[in-house]
Protein backbone atom coordinates (compact mmCIF):
# COMPACT_ATOMS: atom_id res chain seq x y z
CA UNK A 1 0.00 0.00 0.00
CA UNK A 2 3.04 2.22 0.00
CA UNK A 3 2.49 5.41 -1.91
CA UNK A 4 -0.90 4.14 -2.95
CA UNK A 5 -2.66 7.43 -2.78
CA UNK A 6 0.01 10.08 -2.56
CA UNK A 7 -0.81 13.60 -1.63
CA UNK A 8 -4.51 14.37 -1.50
CA UNK A 9 -4.78 18.11 -1.13
CA UNK A 10 -8.46 18.74 -0.75
CA UNK A 11 -10.63 21.06 1.20
CA UNK A 12 -12.19 19.76 4.38
CA UNK A 13 -15.48 19.13 2.62
CA UNK A 14 -14.32 18.23 -0.88
CA UNK A 15 -14.32 14.53 -0.20
CA UNK A 16 -17.79 14.65 1.29
CA UNK A 17 -19.18 16.52 -1.68
CA UNK A 18 -18.06 13.77 -4.03
CA UNK A 19 -18.92 10.58 -2.16
CA UNK A 20 -21.91 8.73 -0.84
CA UNK A 21 -20.76 7.53 2.60
CA UNK A 22 -23.16 4.60 2.51
CA UNK A 23 -21.14 3.20 -0.39
CA UNK A 24 -17.95 3.08 1.66
CA UNK A 25 -17.22 -0.33 3.10
CA UNK A 26 -14.33 -0.98 5.45
CA UNK A 27 -14.08 -4.74 5.16
CA UNK A 28 -15.53 -6.47 2.08
CA UNK A 29 -17.46 -9.25 3.73
CA UNK A 30 -17.73 -11.18 0.47
CA UNK A 31 -13.96 -11.69 0.57
CA UNK A 32 -13.95 -13.33 3.99
CA UNK A 33 -14.73 -16.86 2.71
CA UNK A 34 -11.75 -16.61 0.35
CA UNK A 35 -9.52 -15.58 3.25
CA UNK A 36 -10.86 -18.45 5.32
CA UNK A 37 -10.19 -20.91 2.49
CA UNK A 38 -6.63 -19.67 2.07
CA UNK A 39 -5.93 -19.95 5.79
CA UNK A 40 -7.49 -23.41 5.88
CA UNK A 41 -5.16 -24.47 3.07
CA UNK A 42 -2.24 -23.13 5.12
CA UNK A 43 -3.33 -25.06 8.19
CA UNK A 44 -3.63 -28.24 6.14
CA UNK A 45 -0.18 -27.71 4.63
CA UNK A 46 1.44 -27.11 8.02
CA UNK A 47 -0.39 -29.93 9.80
CA UNK A 48 0.38 -32.40 7.04
CA UNK A 49 3.93 -31.13 6.53
CA UNK A 50 3.03 -31.03 2.85
CA UNK A 51 6.14 -29.79 1.07
CA UNK A 52 4.56 -28.84 -2.24
CA UNK A 53 1.78 -26.88 -0.55
CA UNK A 54 4.18 -25.07 1.76
CA UNK A 55 6.36 -24.12 -1.18
CA UNK A 56 3.36 -23.02 -3.24
CA UNK A 57 1.91 -20.91 -0.46
CA UNK A 58 5.24 -19.30 0.35
CA UNK A 59 6.20 -18.56 -3.26
CA UNK A 60 2.74 -17.43 -4.34
CA UNK A 61 2.03 -15.50 -1.16
CA UNK A 62 5.43 -13.87 -1.02
CA UNK A 63 5.41 -13.09 -4.72
CA UNK A 64 2.01 -11.47 -4.49
CA UNK A 65 2.93 -9.53 -1.33
CA UNK A 66 6.11 -8.14 -2.86
CA UNK A 67 4.60 -7.66 -6.29
CA UNK A 68 1.51 -5.86 -5.07
CA UNK A 69 3.54 -3.63 -2.76
CA UNK A 70 5.97 -2.58 -5.45
CA UNK A 71 3.34 -2.26 -8.18
CA UNK A 72 1.06 -0.13 -6.04
CA UNK A 73 3.93 2.00 -4.84
CA UNK A 74 5.67 2.53 -8.16
CA UNK A 75 2.80 2.41 -10.66
CA UNK A 76 -0.59 2.94 -9.04
CA UNK A 77 0.59 5.62 -6.63
CA UNK A 78 1.98 8.02 -9.24
CA UNK A 79 -1.10 7.49 -11.42
CA UNK A 80 -3.41 8.34 -8.54
CA UNK A 81 -1.28 11.37 -7.81
CA UNK A 82 -2.32 12.81 -11.14
CA UNK A 83 -6.00 12.03 -10.78
CA UNK A 84 -8.63 14.52 -9.74
CA UNK A 85 -9.68 14.50 -6.09
CA UNK A 86 -13.10 12.95 -6.77
CA UNK A 87 -11.45 10.26 -8.87
CA UNK A 88 -8.92 9.54 -6.13
CA UNK A 89 -11.67 9.24 -3.56
CA UNK A 90 -13.68 6.96 -5.81
CA UNK A 91 -10.68 4.73 -6.40
CA UNK A 92 -9.64 4.69 -2.75
CA UNK A 93 -13.06 3.71 -1.46
CA UNK A 94 -13.02 0.67 -3.73
CA UNK A 95 -9.35 -0.19 -3.47
CA UNK A 96 -8.49 0.24 0.19
CA UNK A 97 -11.10 -2.13 1.65
CA UNK A 98 -9.77 -4.91 -0.52
CA UNK A 99 -6.25 -4.19 0.69
CA UNK A 100 -7.49 -4.47 4.29
CA UNK A 101 -8.18 -8.15 3.56
CA UNK A 102 -5.57 -8.99 0.97
CA UNK A 103 -2.36 -7.76 2.59
CA UNK A 104 -2.68 -9.25 6.10
CA UNK A 105 -3.76 -12.56 4.55
CA UNK A 106 -0.76 -12.65 2.23
CA UNK A 107 1.56 -11.76 5.11
CA UNK A 108 0.26 -14.56 7.34
CA UNK A 109 0.38 -17.11 4.51
CA UNK A 110 3.91 -16.13 3.52
CA UNK A 111 5.43 -16.01 6.99
CA UNK A 112 3.87 -19.14 8.41
CA UNK A 113 4.64 -21.24 5.35
CA UNK A 114 8.12 -19.72 5.12
CA UNK A 115 9.04 -20.74 8.64
CA UNK A 116 7.77 -24.26 8.07
CA UNK A 117 9.54 -24.49 4.75
CA UNK A 118 12.80 -23.33 6.28
CA UNK A 119 12.54 -26.03 8.94
CA UNK A 120 11.57 -28.72 6.44
CA UNK A 121 14.36 -27.91 4.00
CA UNK A 122 16.96 -27.50 6.74
CA UNK A 123 17.58 -23.85 5.94
CA UNK A 124 17.29 -22.88 9.60
CA UNK A 125 20.22 -25.16 10.43
CA UNK A 126 22.55 -23.60 7.85
CA UNK A 127 25.74 -22.48 9.58
CA UNK A 128 27.16 -18.97 9.50
CA UNK A 129 28.00 -17.00 7.41
CA UNK A 130 25.09 -18.15 5.21
CA UNK A 131 22.83 -18.01 8.27
CA UNK A 132 23.16 -14.21 8.17
CA UNK A 133 20.92 -14.25 5.09
CA UNK A 134 18.18 -15.82 7.16
CA UNK A 135 18.68 -13.32 9.96
CA UNK A 136 18.53 -10.56 7.36
CA UNK A 137 15.19 -11.91 6.11
CA UNK A 138 13.84 -11.88 9.69
CA UNK A 139 14.94 -8.28 10.17
CA UNK A 140 13.46 -7.18 6.84
CA UNK A 141 10.15 -8.82 7.66
CA UNK A 142 10.24 -7.33 11.14
CA UNK A 143 10.72 -3.80 9.79
CA UNK A 144 7.89 -4.26 7.29
CA UNK A 145 5.65 -5.66 10.00
CA UNK A 146 6.21 -2.70 12.31
CA UNK A 147 5.57 -0.19 9.52
CA UNK A 148 2.56 -2.03 8.14
CA UNK A 149 0.90 -2.82 11.46
CA UNK A 150 1.89 0.29 13.37
CA UNK A 151 1.52 2.95 10.71
CA UNK A 152 -0.09 1.93 7.46
CA UNK A 153 -2.96 -0.29 8.50
CA UNK A 154 -4.18 2.16 11.17
CA UNK A 155 -4.03 4.94 8.60
CA UNK A 156 -5.86 2.77 6.08
CA UNK A 157 -8.72 2.10 8.47
CA UNK A 158 -8.85 5.68 9.75
CA UNK A 159 -9.19 6.97 6.18
CA UNK A 160 -11.99 4.53 5.38
CA UNK A 161 -13.92 5.49 8.50
CA UNK A 162 -13.38 9.17 7.74
CA UNK A 163 -14.78 8.64 4.23
CA UNK A 164 -17.89 7.10 5.77
CA UNK A 165 -18.74 10.37 7.51
CA UNK A 166 -21.37 12.59 5.88
CA UNK A 167 -18.72 15.31 5.51
CA UNK A 168 -15.24 13.77 5.59
CA UNK A 169 -12.31 15.96 6.51
CA UNK A 170 -10.10 16.09 3.42
CA UNK A 171 -7.18 17.62 5.28
CA UNK A 172 -7.21 14.77 7.80
CA UNK A 173 -7.37 12.22 5.00
CA UNK A 174 -4.46 13.89 3.24
CA UNK A 175 -2.47 13.90 6.48
CA UNK A 176 -3.12 10.19 7.07
CA UNK A 177 -2.29 9.28 3.49
CA UNK A 178 1.05 11.05 3.73
CA UNK A 179 2.18 8.14 5.90
CA UNK A 180 2.13 5.99 2.79
CA UNK A 181 4.31 8.49 0.96
CA UNK A 182 6.79 8.83 3.83
CA UNK A 183 7.15 5.08 4.32
CA UNK A 184 7.15 4.22 0.62
CA UNK A 185 10.91 4.43 0.38
CA UNK A 186 11.50 2.18 3.37
CA UNK A 187 8.96 -0.45 2.39
CA UNK A 188 10.13 -0.42 -1.23
CA UNK A 189 13.69 -0.98 -0.10
CA UNK A 190 12.58 -3.80 2.20
CA UNK A 191 10.70 -5.49 -0.64
CA UNK A 192 13.70 -5.31 -2.95
CA UNK A 193 15.88 -6.65 -0.13
CA UNK A 194 13.39 -9.52 0.24
CA UNK A 195 13.77 -10.40 -3.44
CA UNK A 196 17.56 -10.39 -3.14
CA UNK A 197 17.57 -12.46 0.05
CA UNK A 198 15.05 -15.02 -1.11
CA UNK A 199 16.80 -15.60 -4.42
CA UNK A 200 20.10 -15.95 -2.55
CA UNK A 201 18.65 -18.50 -0.13
CA UNK A 202 17.11 -20.45 -2.98
CA UNK A 203 20.43 -20.75 -4.77
CA UNK A 204 23.05 -21.27 -2.07
Amino acid sequence: MADAIGEMPMSPTAAGATLNPTRVTVVPVAGLPLVAAALAFLVAAVAGNWLWALDFIHVAGGGLWTGIDLFVGLVIGPIIGHMSVPARVEFSTRFMPKMVLIMPTLVVLTLASGLQLARRLGNLAVPYPNHWWLVASFIVVGVMAVIALGLLEPANLAVLFELKKPRPNGLLIAKLMRRFVYTAGVTGLMQIATLVIMSRIATW
Binding site: V46, P104, L115, V146, L151, P154
Partner: protein
Protein backbone atom coordinates in the same frame (compact mmCIF):
# COMPACT_ATOMS: atom_id res chain seq x y z
CA UNK B 1 4.03 0.89 18.16
CA UNK B 2 7.04 0.70 20.44
CA UNK B 3 5.55 -2.36 22.03
CA UNK B 4 5.22 -4.08 18.66
CA UNK B 5 8.76 -3.16 17.70
CA UNK B 6 10.15 -4.55 20.96
CA UNK B 7 8.31 -7.88 20.84
CA UNK B 8 9.16 -8.32 17.17
CA UNK B 9 12.81 -7.63 17.98
CA UNK B 10 12.63 -10.26 20.70
CA UNK B 11 11.02 -12.70 18.28
CA UNK B 12 13.69 -12.04 15.65
CA UNK B 13 16.42 -12.65 18.24
CA UNK B 14 14.86 -16.00 19.16
CA UNK B 15 14.30 -16.97 15.53
CA UNK B 16 17.88 -16.14 14.56
CA UNK B 17 19.11 -18.98 16.78
CA UNK B 18 16.71 -21.60 15.44
CA UNK B 19 16.85 -24.55 15.47
CA UNK B 20 19.04 -24.08 18.58
CA UNK B 21 17.67 -22.31 21.63
CA UNK B 22 18.75 -18.71 22.05
CA UNK B 23 20.06 -17.26 25.29
CA UNK B 24 16.86 -16.02 26.86
CA UNK B 25 17.95 -12.91 28.78
CA UNK B 26 17.85 -10.41 25.92
CA UNK B 27 14.55 -11.56 24.38
CA UNK B 28 12.97 -11.77 27.83
CA UNK B 29 13.95 -8.16 28.52
CA UNK B 30 12.72 -7.01 25.11
CA UNK B 31 9.42 -8.83 25.43
CA UNK B 32 9.01 -7.64 29.02
CA UNK B 33 9.55 -4.04 27.93
CA UNK B 34 7.07 -4.55 25.11
CA UNK B 35 4.50 -5.88 27.53
CA UNK B 36 5.15 -2.96 29.84
CA UNK B 37 4.56 -0.47 27.05
CA UNK B 38 1.32 -2.24 26.19
CA UNK B 39 0.13 -1.96 29.78
CA UNK B 40 1.11 1.70 29.84
CA UNK B 41 -0.86 2.29 26.64
CA UNK B 42 -3.91 0.57 28.12
CA UNK B 43 -3.61 2.66 31.26
CA UNK B 44 -3.41 5.87 29.22
CA UNK B 45 -6.37 4.78 27.15
CA UNK B 46 -8.37 4.10 30.28
CA UNK B 47 -7.79 7.68 31.40
CA UNK B 48 -9.47 9.18 28.36
CA UNK B 49 -12.81 10.86 28.95
CA UNK B 50 -14.03 12.52 25.73
CA UNK B 51 -13.43 9.61 23.40
CA UNK B 52 -15.43 7.70 20.80
CA UNK B 53 -15.50 4.48 22.85
CA UNK B 54 -18.23 2.84 20.81
CA UNK B 55 -16.20 3.14 17.64
CA UNK B 56 -13.07 2.05 19.51
CA UNK B 57 -14.70 -1.15 20.73
CA UNK B 58 -16.23 -1.80 17.33
CA UNK B 59 -12.92 -1.59 15.49
CA UNK B 60 -10.70 -3.15 18.13
CA UNK B 61 -13.22 -5.94 18.76
CA UNK B 62 -13.24 -7.16 15.20
CA UNK B 63 -9.51 -6.58 14.86
CA UNK B 64 -9.01 -8.71 17.98
CA UNK B 65 -10.92 -11.55 16.33
CA UNK B 66 -8.76 -11.29 13.21
CA UNK B 67 -5.44 -11.07 15.03
CA UNK B 68 -6.40 -13.78 17.49
CA UNK B 69 -6.85 -16.04 14.45
CA UNK B 70 -3.46 -14.96 13.09
CA UNK B 71 -1.73 -15.44 16.43
CA UNK B 72 -3.46 -18.77 16.85
CA UNK B 73 -2.18 -19.96 13.50
CA UNK B 74 1.38 -18.98 14.34
CA UNK B 75 1.04 -20.73 17.70
CA UNK B 76 -0.21 -23.79 15.84
CA UNK B 77 2.91 -23.71 13.65
CA UNK B 78 5.09 -23.52 16.75
CA UNK B 79 3.36 -26.51 18.33
CA UNK B 80 3.57 -28.57 15.15
CA UNK B 81 7.31 -27.84 15.16
CA UNK B 82 7.55 -29.28 18.70
CA UNK B 83 8.57 -25.98 20.24
CA UNK B 84 8.53 -26.56 23.99
CA UNK B 85 9.47 -25.19 27.37
CA UNK B 86 10.61 -21.64 28.02
CA UNK B 87 10.97 -20.86 24.34
CA UNK B 88 7.32 -21.75 23.72
CA UNK B 89 6.25 -19.66 26.69
CA UNK B 90 8.21 -16.65 25.47
CA UNK B 91 6.91 -16.94 21.92
CA UNK B 92 3.37 -17.35 23.21
CA UNK B 93 3.76 -14.16 25.23
CA UNK B 94 4.98 -12.43 22.07
CA UNK B 95 1.90 -13.59 20.22
CA UNK B 96 -0.44 -12.51 23.02
CA UNK B 97 1.10 -9.04 23.13
CA UNK B 98 0.91 -8.88 19.34
CA UNK B 99 -2.73 -9.98 19.28
CA UNK B 100 -3.71 -7.37 21.89
CA UNK B 101 -1.54 -4.51 20.72
CA UNK B 102 -2.62 -4.30 17.10
CA UNK B 103 -6.37 -4.10 17.80
CA UNK B 104 -5.73 -1.36 20.36
CA UNK B 105 -3.68 0.62 17.84
CA UNK B 106 -6.30 0.16 15.14
CA UNK B 107 -9.20 1.02 17.42
CA UNK B 108 -7.49 4.11 18.77
CA UNK B 109 -6.36 5.30 15.34
CA UNK B 110 -9.95 5.25 14.12
CA UNK B 111 -11.72 6.42 17.27
CA UNK B 112 -9.48 9.43 17.90
CA UNK B 113 -10.85 11.05 14.72
CA UNK B 114 -14.48 10.22 15.39
CA UNK B 115 -17.03 12.39 17.12
CA UNK B 116 -17.35 11.75 20.84
CA UNK B 117 -20.76 10.95 22.33
CA UNK B 118 -21.09 14.60 23.37
CA UNK B 119 -20.63 15.56 19.72
CA UNK B 120 -17.27 17.17 20.33
CA UNK B 121 -14.58 15.77 17.94
Amino acid sequence: MGSIALVIAGGIYLASYLPRQAPLLIPTVLIGLGGGLLLAAVAQLGGLRQFAWERFYQVSGWALVAYAVIAGMIEFVLLVDHTRGTLLILLTVVLVIFALDIPIILGFSVARHQDTPAGIP
